[in-house]
């Protein structure tokens, strides 16, 4: 199987030699697919009976159960013990996040369109019904959850949320493709700002915002330098020689531009972080987070922090530098070799003892995020390593023969092909991570699954076997997100042409 054939062209658009299929009538379909021979007919009948039985049982359960426990505890399921008079923070941060992701997805969509136009490939038209097909499970589950609300406010909130996504995406895809990078940085910044609304400016949120601002500055300076010919190897017009030593040491120009961009990035990042910390808008310490909100947050952190760390670990494991390699191997094998529970317990009971007291002991959620990141990074590293090994030796040789440096070969040739080949396994790992977060209850965090037990421990509902109501409710929540992830991964695979000849 060759990797990366016909990238960008979904294979269902490939011309087909087959005759156009005439549509079967329902009767014909049933006869051809369910009752075409005696053993298939037998299987169809048995399975049909089983299915009917399950359906009746489910209907019976749905109609006879009392869903009061969910109606009373909807906030508990969604946000755990988050103080009820601070709930506006959750809504506000949700709005920021939804608007930002709508905007970001719109920008990406537009720039993909522009790429396709430039390369002369078929250009995809925008369609909201296509979006609905992609994300129907999340839309449906949101409506389902809100339908248990006892006031009108959550309904209103849901409508505003969907509205913001639509507005964000429509704005994003109207942005000029030339502003793509800035658009994405902006949406990332708005997304991280949602953390500040929730947790205030004191914690990791401020660090993340500062970091992103720094990276943005770095990229702007580098673009500026490139557009004005600095670092391109071309002669720089005298009027553009910003730094004096460009004249004296013209061969250092490229290095100069790189250095300047790094310095500017770090300075801006640190200043932003410092300012945010000093302003110290009090927020809400995130150790009171809970419910579905906590579960999704830890999953997102585990994926977005674990992925880059995992890729670095995979590259490090292949390194010829024995110390680097050794550290990576030990880290990977240790994290993979012990159960997640034991890592969580270790973080909870041992880490506070080992941590230098001057830094203060990080709270349980911070510790959990560190553990989850480390754990998923180790698994991701091994998946990525498989992908790295699947890249043919000839690819590296061709790049070497062109005089490219080791770092560039990895970044431009090896990693794009390796990651493309392992998308299915990576998404499998992400889905596992979503479900593994249910273990956070071990260290006292009130994650989504645990909310069910808490609700059932309330005196009003105690000992009535109502887990039969709450567990399916929670399970549906996990399912909607896992299903959407796997659906999206198939879409990405198809677009990148994994396994398509």
């Amino acid at each position: 199987m060759e990797i990366g054939h016909h990238p960008g062209i979904p294979y269902h658009e490939a011309p087909s030699d087959l005759p156009p299929d005439h549509r079967l009538s329902p009767g014909e379909w049933v006869r051809q697919n369910l009752f075409n021979n005696w053993y298939n007919s037998l299987i169809s009948v048995v399975m049909g009976l089983g299915l009917a039985f399950a359906l009746v049982q489910t209907l019976d359960w749905a109609l006879t159960s009392d869903f009061l426990i969910i109606r009373r505890n909807l906030a508990l399921f969604m946000v755990g013990q988050f103080p009820r008079d601070e709930l506006w923070r959750v809504w506000a941060s949700l709005y920021l996040l939804v608007g930002a992701s709508g905007f970001g997805s719109g920008v990406l969509f537009r720039s993909e369109q522009a790429d396709a136009e430039e390369k002369g490939l078929p250009v995809e038209t925008h369609s909201w019904s296509e979006m609905l097909r992609r994300f129907w499970a999340i839309v449906a589950i949101s409506i389902f959850f809100v339908s248990f609300a006892r006031t009108l406010l959550p309904y209103l909130g849901l409508v505003v949320g969907f509205g913001l996504f639509v507005v964000g995406r429509e704005l994003g895809r109207r942005l000029s493709p030339a502003l793509r990078t800035r658009g994405l940085f902006l949406s990332g910044l708005a997304g991280l700002a949602s953390l500040l609304v929730l947790a205030g400016t004191g914690g990791l949120g401020a660090l993340a915002v500062g970091g992103l601002l720094g990276v943005w500055t770095l990229s702007e300076v580098r673009n500026y330098a490139e557009q004005h010919g600095v670092g391109s190897g071309q002669p720089v017009p005298v009027s553009r020689r910003v730094w004096r030593w460009h004249i004296r040491y013209p061969f250092k120009r490229r290095v100069g531009a790189r250095l300047a961009s790094w310095v500017a990035g770090v300075v801006v990042g640190v200043i932003a972080w410092f300012v945010l910390r000093t302003v110290d808008l009090s927020g809400f310490g995130w150790d009171d987070w809970g419910g579905l909100h906590l579960t999704l947050f830890v999953t997102v952190v585990g994926i977005s922090a674990g992925f880059p760390v995992g890729v670095l670990l995979a590259l490090g494991r292949q390194s010829k530098l024995q110390v680097v390699k050794g550290i990576c191997v030990v880290f990977i094998e240790f994290s993979r070799g012990v159960p997640l529970i034991s890592l969580l317990l270790f973080s909870s009971f041992m880490l506070p003892l080992l941590f230098p007291i001057t830094f203060g002991i990080p709270g349980p959620l911070t510790r959990a995020m560190i553990v989850v990141t480390a754990f998923s990074a180790a698994y991701i590293a091994e998946i990525v390593r498989g992908g790295l090994q699947a890249v043919p030796r000839g690819q590296i040789e061709a790049a070497q023969a062109g005089g490219m440096s080791v770092a560039r070969i990895q970044r431009l040739i090896v990693l794009p092909q390796a990651l493309r080949a392992v998308i299915p396994a990576l998404v499998g790992q992400f889905i596992s991570l979503l479900k593994d977060t249910s273990l956070l209850s071990i260290i006292g965090l009130l994650e989504f699954l645990q909310t069910s037990d808490v609700a059932n421990a309330q005196t009003e509902f105690l000992g009535q076997g109502l887990v039969a109501v709450t567990y399916p409710f929670v399970a549906l929540g996990y399912w909607a997100f896992a299903y959407t992830m796997s659906k999206e991964s198939r879409r990405v695979e198809e677009r990148l042409g994994v396994g398509v000849r």
Partner: protein
């Protein structure tokens, strides 16, 4: 080595300019197996050298040593005045000046034809995008497939892929081109289009070392033919002498088998 044959010396350049590649006493081992033994060879500017020989004779290893895709174990290799050593920067410098075309094309499947060609010039030579793309279009005209520029390697025929690979190497404006059996993986009807491209290149005065089984090409284009067997250079000569009047028994045997 039990073999007593003294290696032929391929250091005499026939007719053309100054020496650009020079190998002296080069040995190469893969484990216990000696792939090259005591290779002495020079190549002049604008010279076309064709290396032939049975499979396993070390032809590919020889040209892969010249741009350090393989590390030689003894002797010295000097390319464009720079001796190959473990100095990675010097090697990258040499690789910039030597294009290489592989048997299996090795195009980057995740990049379009245009991106395949402009990648190295933009990243290694820091060429601005517009200039790199203009150069790429020129080269695609030269290899006669400008209309394929937006496609991906997987959408091209073998012959087209190999011509893109040649254009990709030429984009770095190399002083030397190395061809490692460029037509061996191609269907017969596509061999000609690639050989024609290589002939054009030779006519334009490119310095070339070609490992190939295409005797017609060797006869027509080569300034010198080098015959290798068992990791040694057995016989060297201009094609007219080489194909009509070889002196060594092993050369005669090889030619009688393939002609």
């Amino acid at each position: 080595m039990s073999d007593t044959v003294v290696n032929a010396d391929a250091t005499e350049i026939l007719g053309k300019g100054d020496t650009i590649i020079s190998l002296r006493g080069v040995d190469k081992f893969f484990g216990d197996f000696q792939a090259l033994s005591n290779i002495n060879m020079s190549v002049g500017e604008q010279e076309v050298v064709v290396v032939i020989g049975p499979s396993g004779s070390g032809k590919s290893t020889l040209i892969r040593c010249i741009n350090r895709l393989e590390r030689h174990d003894r002797g010295s290799i000097v390319v464009d005045g720079v001796e190959l050593s473990d100095d990675i920067r010097a090697i990258q410098g040499i690789r910039r000046e030597t294009g290489m075309v592989f048997q299996s094309f090795n195009l980057f499947p995740h990049l379009s034809v245009m991106d395949n060609i402009t990648l190295a010039p933009r990243n290694v030579r820091n060429m601005p995008k517009a200039e790199a793309e203009a150069t790429a279009m020129e080269l695609l005209e030269r290899v006669k497939i400008p209309d394929q520029v937006r496609k991906y390697p997987g959408q091209l025929s073998g012959g087209q892929q190999q011509r893109v690979a040649i254009a990709r190497s030429l984009a770095m404006k190399p002083k030397v081109m190395l061809f490692d059996e460029p037509t061996s993986a191609l269907d017969p009807e596509m061999i000609k289009e690639v050989l024609d491209t290589m002939k054009d290149l030779a006519t334009e005065g490119m310095t070339m070392i070609c490992v190939t089984h295409e005797m017609g090409f060797a006869r027509e284009v080569a300034d010198r033919v080098v015959f290798m067997a068992d990791g040694e250079i057995v016989e060297v000569g201009p094609p007219e002498h080489f194909f009509t009047n070889p002196t060594e028994e092993r050369t005669k045997l090889f030619l009688s088998q393939i002609l």
